[in-house]
């Protein structure tokens, strides 16, 4: 009797041992299979992230292309849109034309790689400026990615900010073309280059002034028009204003001669604001045709204001 009890217990232990081995082997298979699926899904998820990033870059690229194309149209025709709404409408049309080229391109590329993606652009339009150095484009888009193991179908609505650095300044470039009477191909294209220095709170000095001028930088200032205002020739001040210096060598293009009674702050010069010569200053070791008004001398030369001399 004792032997049979012992035997039964042994049998149970052996049975549990055998079942454990089988379960362990099955679990290992299951674990490996789930791990493989997890890697596949994770990789597809990363492709979806790449796809989202691609859309963002495509919007930025389309927006910047639209802005540059509009600038070229303005310079070619020597004529500005009437107002901000007209600029926005024109840019929205251009962005709409350009964005589909990018979206179709990646869709076809991925399709060739057996990755099915699709998209629905519900809405896209140019929104304007929300900060000095960026312009916004609103997009409402549904992105779809499908495979045999997982699928994504996600809508997003957001404003994508595009940097304005490197883009054509239409106001400045159009003015240069107009005074030179040249074709656009022989007109120097002026692009936005952000200054290293802000020149705020009397931080200007002679060295910074020279660097700013020689590099043809732009700085943020609330006394100047914004980048967007430059598309409809509006010289009024803006929260997102930017300004640069006129390059006197570009102005000195016969029969045009550089104006003597204007400050060389770009929007002031272009809009034709005139000063008495007694209120204008030339700067030491700088071409004497280059002039600044008193306020600008304080801003740019700051502690080195003695480097500026009144014109007369």
């Amino acid at each position: 009797m004792r032997k049979s009890v012992l035997f039964t217990i042994t049998m149970f232990i052996v049975a549990i041992f055998i079942i454990s081995i089988f379960l362990g082997m099955s679990y290992k298979d299951y674990y490996l299979e789930s791990k493989i699926e997890s890697i596949k899904v994770s990789r597809l998820n990363k492709i979806y992230d790449d796809y989202e990033r691609y859309v963002e870059l495509a919007v930025i690229t389309s927006t910047r292309e639209a802005l540059n194309n509009l600038s070229i149209e303005i310079v070619e025709k020597e004529s500005f849109p009437d107002n901000e709404e007209e600029v926005k409408k024109n840019l929205t049309e251009k962005i709409n034309k350009s964005i589909y080229k990018w979206l179709e391109s990646i869709k076809n590329t991925l399709k060739e790689q057996s990755i099915n993606v699709d998209y629905v652009v519900n809405d896209i339009y140019f929104t304007g400026q929300n900060d000095t150095w960026h312009v916004g484009t609103y997009i409402n888009i549904t992105l779809i990615l499908e495979s045999s193991i997982a699928s994504w179908n996600h809508s997003e609505q957001r404003i994508i900010e595009s940097p304005i650095e490197g883009l054509i300044d239409p106001l400045y470039t159009e003015y240069i073309k107009e005074i030179r009477g040249s074709s656009i191909s022989s007109t120097p294209i002026i692009t936005i280059k952000k200054s290293k220095y802000s020149f705020l709170e009397n931080s200007g000095n002679y060295t910074k002034f020279l660097e700013f001028r020689n590099n043809h930088w732009y700085r943020a200032t609330t006394r100047a028009p914004s980048f967007l205002q430059r598309f409809y020739n509006d010289s009024s001040n803006s929260t997102y204003g930017i300004e640069s210096f006129m390059n006197e060598s570009l102005l000195d293009f016969p029969p045009n001669t550089p104006a003597e009674n204007r400050s060389y702050i770009d929007y002031m010069y272009i809009s034709g604001i005139e000063y008495n010569l007694t209120d204008l200053y030339t700067i030491e070791d700088v071409n004497q045709t280059f002039r600044l008004d008193g306020d600008s001398v304080s801003i740019y030369l700051g502690i080195d204001a003695d480097k500026a001399q009144p014109v007369s």
Partner: protein
């Protein structure tokens, strides 16, 4: 009666012992499971893609940087972006750039990829795919398992998108 019962018990004993032997022998001599090999292949493809997606040219040893630094826009590009840029240039007139991309990929991958596996790295778009790297200890197309990992590579000009390619890494196991 008692004898018959004892005989019955011994037969069960023998069967149990035999079953145990079979199970243990199967567990010991079981070949490397196919799923485990598949997992290895996927992990190798994925890890290699992660490496070239998250390592900057700047972080490579100097001799590897020197291979391409004059032909890319910045050494702050990730390896995948640098390869994408070289590929784009090769399509747009740079006669050496494709060879350069291949040499560079060969250099950066040698210490990482295991020589016992077959690897193939390709790049391209919907029109064309070019092989950048092919390591074949055995024919990759004859592999019993072919794990693929893909990524979209952006070619940028500053903040603007110029082109996007698919970079594909395949790992084959015989």
């Amino acid at each position: 009666m008692v004898r018959a019962r004892k005989g019955y018990f011994f037969v069960i004993d023998a069967l149990v012992a035999l079953a145990l032997l079979v199970i243990i022998a199967t567990a010991i001599y079981r070949p490397l499971p196919q799923k485990s090999r598949t997992l290895n292949a996927y992990m190798l493809a994925d890890n290699f893609l992660e490496y070239i997606s998250k390592t900057k040219v700047r972080d490579l040893p100097l001799e590897q940087q020197e291979t391409i630094e004059e032909n890319i826009s910045s050494i702050d590009l990730y390896l995948s972006e640098a390869i994408g840029e070289l590929y784009w240039k090769s399509i747009h007139g740079c006669s050496d750039c494709l060879t350069l991309a291949k040499t560079f990929l060969e250099e950066v991958s040698t210490p990482i990829i295991s020589p016992e596996y077959a690897y193939r790295v390709t790049i391209g778009d919907e029109n064309n795919m070019d092989v950048l790297l092919l390591r074949e200890p055995y024919g990759i197309n004859d592999s019993s398992i072919l794990a693929t990992s893909k990524k979209i590579v952006f070619v940028m000009n500053g903040t603007q998108l110029v082109e996007a390619y698919i970079l594909s890494i395949e790992v084959g196991i015989k």
